[in-house]
C-alpha cells in the first residue's frame, strides 16, 4: 500500500476485503454492519414508520379491548399475513432462478374451493338461524390445499420436467386458473356464513390475530428447513448455476418441482386467509395482482431476481413495507390509486440501487462533484 505505484484511491471492494481480514476497528465494523443486506429494507421500513409517527396521529398506540390487542400496527401485520405467506413461497422460487406469476390465480382457486365446500347455508332450527357447513371444515381446508398443491405440481411439472421458461409456464395457470375458479363459482361471488371459518382470517389467539400465527408458523418451518438442513444450500446452488448443481449431484428437477409446489401451497393458505377475512370467495378479484406484490416484497427484501441469493427475513420485511405503505397512503387520505405510482417508484429505486452499473454511474457523478468541491 505504501509503494509509490499506489497513487489511486483504494476501491470500495479492496477496503471491505481489507476490513474483513484485519481485526476490525469500530468505524469499519459499523460500516460492515451497514453493508448487511437487511439494513436497506429495515431502514426503509423504519423510515416509513417514522413518517407514520408524524403524519398519522396515534399510529403506535395499542389498546387492549375485549381480550384483543387493537392498533394500527396490529392491523398492518394482520393484513400483511397473506402477502407474507405468498412472498415466502415466491422467495424460494426466485432463489432457484424461477418466477411464479400464478399465485394470484391459486389464491382465487383455493378460496373458491373452500367457500364452495363449506357453503353458505343458513338453516332455521326452532326459529334460531344456524349456520352449517356442507362438509367438515377440516376436510374443506384439506381439499382447498389439495387444489393449491395440484396447481403447484402443474407449474412444477411444466418448469422442471418439460423445461418451459418459468414465466411462461406459470402464465398458463395465471390466465387459465382464474377462469377455472370463475367456472366453479359460475362467475358469482360466493358468500360463506359458517362462523368457525372466519376464525382463520379474523380470529384472535392470545390477543393477537390468528393469521399472524399462521404466517409466523410457516416462516419458522421454512427458516428451520433452510438453516438446519442442506435444502437452503441446494436451492442456492440451483439458483447460482443449475448445470453445475446437477453435475454436483443435486436432483435439480425434483428440487425445482417441490419449490413450485411449496409456493402454490403458500398461496393456497393465503387464499384461505383472504376468503375467510372477506367471508366470501370472489374468483374475479381475490388475489388480483398479488403476484406482483409478492415479487415486489421479495425484491425489496434484497433477494436477487437473478437467483441464488435469497433472504426469507428480507421478504417478510418487504411484505411489511408494502402493507405499511398501503396503510400510510390510505390513512393520509390520498386516493388509493396513487398507491400504484408510489409502488412503481419504489420498485424502480430498489432495482436501480441493486444494479452495479447504476452504482458505478452514481459514484462517478458523485465523485466528480466531490472533486470539483476540492
Amino acid at each position: 500500500m505504501s509503494t509509490p505505484m499506489h497513487t489511486q484511491p483504494i476501491s470500495e471492494a479492496e477496503l471491505s476485503s481489507a476490513a474483513s481480514n484485519t481485526p476490525q476497528p469500530l468505524p469499519s465494523r459499523l460500516s460492515h454492519t451497514l453493508r448487511h443486506p437487511l439494513i436497506r429494507p429495515l431502514a426503509a421500513l423504519a423510515l416509513l414508520l417514522a413518517i407514520d409517527f408524524f403524519v398519522i396521529p396515534g399510529f403506535f398506540r395499542m389498546e387492549w379491548k375485549d381480550g384483543h390487542l387493537y392498533g394500527s400496527l396490529i392491523d398492518i401485520v394482520n393484513r400483511a399475513a397473506p402477502l407474507i405467506l405468498t412472498a415466502l413461497g415466491m422467495t424460494l422460487v426466485i432463489a432457484t432462478r424461477g418466477i411464479d406469476i400464478s399465485v394470484g390465480a391459486v389464491v382465487a382457486i383455493s378460496g373458491t374451493v373452500i367457500a364452495l365446500l363449506i357453503g353458505g347455508n343458513v338453516e332455521m332450527h326452532n326459529g334460531v338461524p344456524q349456520y352449517v357447513s356442507q362438509i367438515p371444515m377440516g376436510w374443506a381446508i384439506a381439499a382447498a390445499m389439495g387444489a393449491a398443491i395440484l396447481c403447484g405440481a402443474w407449474n412444477g411439472f411444466l418448469v422442471a420436467t418439460l423445461g418451459l421458461q418459468p414465466i411462461i409456464a406459470t402464465l398458463i395457470l395465471m390466465v387459465g386458473g382464474r377462469g377455472l375458479a370463475q367456472l366453479l363459482t359460475d362467475g358469482q361471488i360466493i358468500t360463506v356464513y359458517y362462523k368457525p371459518f372466519f376464525y382463520l382470517g379474523s380470529g384472535y389467539l392470545f390477543g393477537l390475530p390468528f393469521s399472524l400465527f399462521i404466517a409466523i408458523g410457516v416462516f419458522l418451518i421454512v427458516a428451520l428447513l433452510m438453516r438446519k438442513t442442506a435444502l437452503g444450500l441446494f436451492i442456492q446452488a440451483v439458483g447460482i448455476n443449475p448445470v453445475a448443481a446437477r453435475l454436483a449431484g443435486i436432483r435439480t428437477a425434483a428440487l425445482i418441482f417441490f419449490v413450485y409446489i411449496f409456493c402454490s401451497a403458500c398461496a393456497g393458505v393465503a387464499g384461505l386467509l383472504i376468503s375467510s377475512n372477506i367471508k366470501s370467495a370472489d374468483a374475479n378479484n381475490a388475489g388480483l395482482l398479488l403476484e406482483l406484490d409478492a415479487i415486489l416484497a421479495v425484491t425489496l427484501g434484497g433477494t436477487s431476481l437473478a437467483g441464488g441469493k435469497f433472504s426469507l427475513v428480507g421478504s417478510v420485511i418487504g411484505a411489511l413495507i408494502i402493507q405499511t405503505l398501503t396503510y400510510t397512503i390510505y390513512s393520509m387520505g390520498v386516493p388509493p390509486e396513487v398507491n400504484m405510482v408510489v409502488k412503481s417508484i419504489v420498485v424502480f429505486a430498489v432495482c436501480l440501487s441493486q444494479s452495479p452499473e447504476f452504482r458505478h454511474l452514481w459514484k462517478r457523478l458523485f465523485g466528480a462533484s466531490a472533486q470539483e468541491k476540492q
Partner: protein, 334 residues
Amino acid sequence: MKILRSSLASPYFTSLATVALLVLMFGMGSFAYTGFFSLQVILNLLIDNAFLLVIAIGMTFVILSGGIDLSVGSVLALTTMISAYLLQSWHWPPLLVIACVLLIGSCFGALMGALIHFFKLQAFIVTLAGMFLARGLCYLISINSITIDQPLYVELSQARLGILGAFISPSVVIAMLMLALAIYLAHYTRFGRAVYAIGGNEQSALLMGLPVGRTKVLVYAFSGFCAALAGVLFSFYMLSGYGLHAQGTELDAIAAVVIGGTLLSGGYGYVAGTLTGVLILGVIQTLIAFDGSLSSWWTKIVIGALLFIFCVAQRLMSMSAGGIGSASPVSKAA
C-alpha cells in the same frame, strides 16, 4: 417418416399449425352456428381486435429480442386517458393529441429499454414497474371514465369502409398498415436482423459488432409506440379514457405472440404469425358469443389450454431440433 420429422422441425411448422387451427376453429363455428360463416364475421374479428393486433406486433419484437414487456396494457390505458383529458379539458386539436400520445408512449418504452439495457435490470421487473406506473398515472388524471365527444374521434369511430359487401373500420386499416410495416422491419431491415440476432444470442450479437444497446432501446420504444397507437385505436373504439381500460391485455398479447409461433426464448418467429395468434383469440371470443350459453371465463380457460399446447409443442420441437431455443430447464427467469 423422415419427411414428417423434417417438417416437424421446420421453422414454418408452428405457424402452419396455428393457421390450421384457425381454419379448423372457424370451420367448427360455421358448422355449429348459422350466420357464423360470413365475411362480416371475419372482418369483425379484425375490427374488434385491431388494437390487440397492434399491441401484439410490438410485443412480438420485444419477445423476438429475448425480452418481455408487461406494461403495454397500462400504456394503452394511459394513452386513452391522456387523449381524453387533452381533448375534453384542454380542447387540443385531435391530430396534435394523437402525435403527443404516440410520442409519450415511445418515450415511456425507450426509458424502460434504457433502464433494462444500461443498468442491466431484468425486463420483467422494469416493465412490471412500468405497468404500475402507467396505471397509477391514469388515476392521477382521473379516477373516473372520461367520455370523448370530439367530432373527429366520433367520426372515426363510426366510419365504415365498404369491402366486398361488408365493412371494416379505419382502425383495421391502421392496424394492417402497422402489420405491413412490422413485417418489413423484421424481415427486410438491419434493425430486424439485429433484433433476431440479439434474441438468438446476445453475446454473439455483441461480438458480431451489432448495435445491441441501441436496438434493445429501440425495441422497447417501438413496443411503447405500438401500445400508444393501440390506445389511440382503442379510444376510437370506446370513445372514452379510463384507467381500467384493457386490463390484462399484456397477457392476451403475449398469448397471441406465443400462439402465433414466436419462441419465448427469443430469436425465432414470424411477425405475421402474430396476426393468426390474435385472430385465434378473436375466434374463441366469437364462438363464445355465438354460443350464448358459454360464459366469458371459458375464454380464459381455452386461452390457457392453447398456451399450454403451444408452449409444449415449441419445447418438444426445440428439443428435437436440438439447436433453436433448447434452453436448460431453468434458463431465464424473465
